[in-house]
Subunit: 168 residues, 2 copies
Amino acid sequence: MKLSEAKQQFIQSWGVLGSQWGINRSMAQVHAILLVASKPLSTDDIMEQLNISRGNANMNIRDLIDWGIVEKVIIPGDRKEYFSADKDIWRVATRIMYQRKKKELDPMLKVLNQISDVEGDKRNADIKAFTETVDSIKRLAGHADKAMEMMIKAEENWFLNSFMKLLK
Amino acid sequence: MKLSEAKQQFIQSWGVLGSQWGINRSMAQVHAILLVASKPLSTDDIMEQLNISRGNANMNIRDLIDWGIVEKVIIPGDRKEYFSADKDIWRVATRIMYQRKKKELDPMLKVLNQISDVEGDKRNADIKAFTETVDSIKRLAGHADKAMEMMIKAEENWFLNSFMKLLK
DNA sequence: CTGAATTTTCAAAATATATTGAAAGATTTG
DNA sequence: CAAATCTTTCAATATATTTTGAAAATTCAG
């Protein structure tokens, strides 16, 4: 398979995957194209290769930067801004999960805490069913939090390991 | 807080959370209402409490059943079908992840395997950038697979543990 | 087998989300 | 500082997804 063809396939699939997980297709594709680029790309490069508008490209690049998985690169003597994606895929995964946890899981947890004590007799079947379910979700969320932390720790180790290799 | 109020809050939040993760709001809400119900509900109960149409209720109930997290309950002497959600939230989580892995991650992996050997000189910077990224994603996917398996194993243990408690 | 009760389907309508493009805002250069 | 270049914003538009509701299909009791 030719490189250009393989890249297209990758960008396509990454876009589909993203859209199924609540990340819009363009954003996933912008990320994909930066992931497989051998050098930083400008907004125009991205617009041209993905056939998207300037506004679209710009917004999605900003969001990726906010997520901490893409960074701006200044090329001396060029007025354009260039962008490159973090190629450490493990770090990318943990960053994305962390962002989404913060924006989506944590609000849910807040609600769970608010609703977990309801008025009335604890022996009432309705109340029992409700509190048991809510409590078990809270417990699961706690485990998920632990797992996240574990992964971030593992990432630090991975990073440290790479660093050690460089020094040897 | 009153039980009815707490339930409403829960259904609402569960719906929002679902929609952010690529599960449509109605489906998440149908799941939520069944999760906190103390007894099986009919399609009419669900329609009424969520203010959704019969078609919508029906489709989403079917999908939840296909995911293996809701089951049909027959109440003798009643022609209506009733439904109840699996209350073991850990099992629910692993089922959902497994379904999504199968439908969404596995196709991505298939593409990654197809595109991971490209024609041309391996020392070429473009080709190197591409294959390294693709390979690292494949490696991450491998880890994710392992983690999934681990969780399913843990689920079996949990289940076994609950069973043991019952016997004591 | 009949007909009432219930479930399923799916085209049309409603809603929600993403994209465009041009104007406004910044930034840099000479 | 004026002009050129580049970036950002956002209302309008386009696209995608979800929901409805009524008709068709199925199920079941008598």
